[in-house]
Amino acid sequence: MNPRTTLAILAGKAAGGASRLLGRGGGTAIAGVAALRVDPHLVRDLAAQAGAGSIAVTGTNGKTTTTLMLNRIATAAGLRPLHNRSGSNMMRGVAAMLVEEASPSGSIADAARRLAILEVDEATLPEIVREVRPRVILFTNLFRDQLDRYGEVDTVARSWRSALGGQGTGDRGQPGTESLEPGLPTIVLNADDPAVAHLGRGYAGPVVYYGVEDASAGGDAVEHASDFRTCLECGADLAYTVTFYGHVGHWRCPSCGNARPAPDVRITRVATGDDGTEMTVATAEGELRVRLPLTGLYNAYNALAAVAGAAALGLPREATVTALEGFSAAFGRQERFQVEGRDVRVMLGKNPTGLNQVLRTVASRPGRKRILFFLNDGIADGRDISWIWDADYELVRPQTEWTLAAGTRAEDLALRLKYAGFGDEVAIEHDTGAAFQRAIEAAPEGETLYVLPTYTAMLEVREIIAKRAGAGHFWEE
């Protein structure tokens, strides 16, 4: 191990420890920033030790849940994941996780059984591909999100293409570096998302497509919040025989013949209930039946992606089924808490497509609804909140009897809710703790309270909820 790596690890551990002592969150980003400043290639050196290689997961929605599912599958298969599970998914977050796992001398314990499972920010993917050279790269979907940070959706699509292109153009095997796997990475693509499926065209390495075949799970109208409704080959309007959400569905271009690829891993039957989803997944090795304890079609997609990713990694099918059936929600993603006799469900919604899926899930549940909405405009949320006008808050209006608009942009949210029919002057509350207290008071004991925050609001409110429910801090999980 080179001395620079050791220094970087020590710097990272010191910074992370200091941050935790000061109570500044998990210290996840700070440790990574400090370590990368000393050794910019730290991630390359540490990730290379993982004996089972690595998988990178990226896309607009579903990254956190999909990687957590992969983590549980890998664990059930007897591997020890190296996983940036705190959700810090830029290079510094990955670095921080590896620093935490490494000994001061720079070695990862039990390296032979290690599989790196990396949740990767959309814009960070090219850098991760360059540094880590994952065995498998899994793409979930691509939608507008944080336009002020990422730029246009097309910019993200282009950067993904070039990241994959670089893999095929002699970027690999530079002198002095040893490639663990001689071939190109396997890419695992959502066949139902035209922008993601397009990455497979002309890719020189192995491609695994996944998709939902069960058309009964979809509808026939394309939602407003769609970003790729024209053919990426010729520009003509795409035609859909079924749409599942946003621009995800069974699509084809009537003009040039570009069409949804036939998926290799596919949901042939899906039925979502009040507290779970039953799905049948067909793979090359046979059929899997899974009872997933999460609701919403978006979670069926997350599980499908995890099955496809696990298959691409060669993990055993039994491990996949066991892990998915025993799955509990990722941080703030349909996470459930008991607070003073109330069933509190935290469902992150941070962009129009993701929020629509959450709203649809809430609407499909029985009973009158009490909903605490948060809208923050922090850097990690995206400072531009205009996306709320693309989301369909109207979906939950009919069954909702109480609502409160909270967060740094509560006034904008209240105005959007007014337009959705929630009343001329929806109540607002800027203080997160006070907002949650009001919500608890509004929900009778034994009832469900839905908390629908954006990202930074989720971190804040979840901590408050977890404290009251008696759960620990997330970095102690």
Binding site: L147, D148, E152, R383, S386, E411, D412
Partner: protein
């Protein structure tokens, strides 16, 4: 009052909708329906022809680069002449962000190549190159409402919200820098944020009843005075002087006031 109808033509709602532009249409509809004014919406996509006499207000929003390229060709082929004719006849046009650039004379890429625009606004936009910063953030501008013949006293008399009068708030996100020619006047003066080019303190452009701006957020819902200004102008052409009744704007005023306090 109830015999009036606002006819809105929305250009490329599927392709030009990147920054919550749907909110602008929702706002126009709400502010008409709350007053018993009829609201008709026609959505025009690729290949659809536009009849200049069919609309009182034309709206076009922002698009991604890829879709903007698809749009330009169609716009020039099937709609540009009719939009120009409508604007000359006093029809209201609201062009936000990408559409604002598109309705100018030309867009000069950082390579120097010039893409022709529709030429309704005497302005052009230049991309300063990939190294230059995009102009991104919250923006507050002081709107020169009175110069459009819509006086603050009139507004008070008509019950149009006064608190919002004079400022327009929202979010901007554009790489291109827009420079106005002699044939347009700026819509507003920048109080905080960047505006047309980040240099000359102007934001947006006005030519006859055509308004262009970089401000989204969505633009109209939390700028009710500006929304009403456009509605009154659009109806006024067919129905003569229009008095818009006061409606409940508490949530709108609250959002507007909060936006005035945001950092850029």
């Amino acid at each position: 009052m109830s015999s009036m109808t606002l006819r809105v033509a929305h250009l490329y709602p599927r392709l030009m909708n990147i920054y919550g532009d749907r909110g602008n249409i929702m706002c126009l509809r709400h502010r008409c329906e709350a007053r018993g004014i009829g609201f008709e919406l026609v959505e025009l996509g690729i290949g659809d022809r536009f009849d200049a006499a069919s609309a009182d207000l034309i709206f076009a929003g922002g698009a991604q680069d890829r879709e903007q390229r698809n749009v330009v060709e169609d716009l020039l082929a099937t709609k540009a002449d009719a939009v120009r004719e409508a604007v000359e006849a006093g029809v209201v046009l609201l062009a936000v962000c990408g559409a604002y650039q598109l309705f100018g004379r030309f867009y000069r890429e950082s390579t120097g190549a010039e893409l022709p625009g529709v030429g309704i606004f005497d302005l052009h936009t230049e991309h300063p190159g990939e190294k230059a910063k995009r102009l991104i953030g919250n923006i507050v501008v002081e709107w020169d409402g009175p110069a459009a013949g819509f006086h603050h006293e009139d507004r008070a008399r008509r019950g149009v919200p006064l608190q919002a009068a004079g400022t327009i708030v929202g979010f901007e996100n554009h790489g291109g820098r827009t420079h106005l020619g002699a044939g347009v006047r700026p819509l507003a003066t920048v109080r905080s944020g960047n505006g047309n080019n980040g240099a000359d303190g102007t934001e947006g452009a006005v030519y006859r009843n055509a308004y262009g701006t970089y401000i989204h957020g969505s633009l109209l819902p939390k700028n009710p005075a500006f929304a009403d200004h456009l509605i009154a102008l659009a109806l006024g052409r067919r129905y003569g002087e229009v008095e818009l009744a006061a409606i409940d704007d508490r949530a709108e005023e609250r959002a507007h006031a909060a936006a005035l306090r945001l950092r850029p």
